[in-house]
């Protein structure tokens, strides 16, 4: 089971590298779809069917929105020559990633082991979820009854982003005098 997880996360990393380094914008966006759909399978292996359903439908709609935006404008990437500045950035980036991963490995010694979480908060929700709310789906009971403020905040954020999109693309600018 662990090997399947590692295999899919390595696939996601390869897809991310391809998406960032490709010369054609459309190929980059389609590589982003690889990451999203591999994440769906990882969610299913981790016994989270709620997340898998939401991830796959939102991934499809994100791809449609991105492709619509790219086809409206242009398809080629901006060209950059290979200079000393770029080589220096690459090298510094690799060193930074190495230091960060070393710090992460040292931190994960103190976090509970992968596969044995301490269910301090969730033990109450699992034991008393059905008598308190009456819902069988524990995740739905958590997001709508026991922690409803988060859902209200999230609906507000989605509403605000839609208002932002409509305002930015309204195309009624100032008159040029």
């Amino acid at each position: 089971m662990l090997t399947i997880l590692i295999l899919f996360v390595v696939l996601m990393i390869l897809g991310a590298i391809v998406a960032l380094e490709s010369k054609d914008l459309l190929s980059g966006i389609i590589s982003l779809g690889i990451i999203g759909f591999a994440l769906t399978i990882v969610f299913l292996v981790l016994q989270a069917p709620d997340l898998a359903i939401v991830q796959i439908v939102i991934e499809t709609l994100t791809l449609i929105i991105l492709i619509a935006a790219v086809l409206k404008t242009t398809r080629e990437d901006t060209t950059e020559e290979f200079s000393a500045r770029k080589a220096f950035l690459w090298f510094a980036g690799l060193i930074f990633i190495g230091i960060f991963l070393l710090a992460a490995v040292k931190t994960f010694q103190h976090v509970p082991k992968f596969g044995h979480p301490t269910l301090r908060m969730a033990q109450l929700y699992i034991d008393q979820g059905l008598p308190l709310t009456g819902a069988s789906n524990l995740v739905a009971a958590i997001i709508l009854d026991l922690r409803g403020y988060d859902t209200l905040g999230e609906a507000t954020v989605l509403f605000t982003s839609v208002i932002g999109v409509i305002t930015v693309l309204r195309k009624m600018g100032r008159k040029r005098t």
Binding site: D50, L61, I65, A135, S136, G148, Y149, L152, I166
Partner: protein
Amino acid sequence: MRGMTLIVKCITQLMAPSIFLLGIYVVLHGHLTPGGGFAGGVLMAGCFVLIVLAYGSEEARSEVRKWRASLSESIGIFIFWLLAMLGVIQGSYFFYNVIAKVNPGQPYTLFSAGIIPLCNIAIGIEVAASLFAIFITLAVLKVGEKL
């Protein structure tokens, strides 16, 4: 954006009601099976996006005024806020599950869990209208047109 060939239009006519029905099913059974308001709402938006993509933006432009995406989105989030305020009106705290305390149904059936299915419906309407509004603004509307 032009429409697609005749075969795609015929298949869309057959498939779009089924996709919409699947979206409504996932929203309504949100407290029993995995899914809930968010997944069902995105599925319902996907049905409308399919119709616009298959028939082209010229035919869709005359229909956009009737769909009124902006109004439905505001109504959806207003109903969600109203359901949350029912607890305060009754005298307890915000988001109190008033219906489950008054009339708790049998567990594992459709009419149980108090306020949760109604909240799911409100969120489903809001998410569907939001995503459809984003797609329409990006792909269909021209200069100076309002939603």
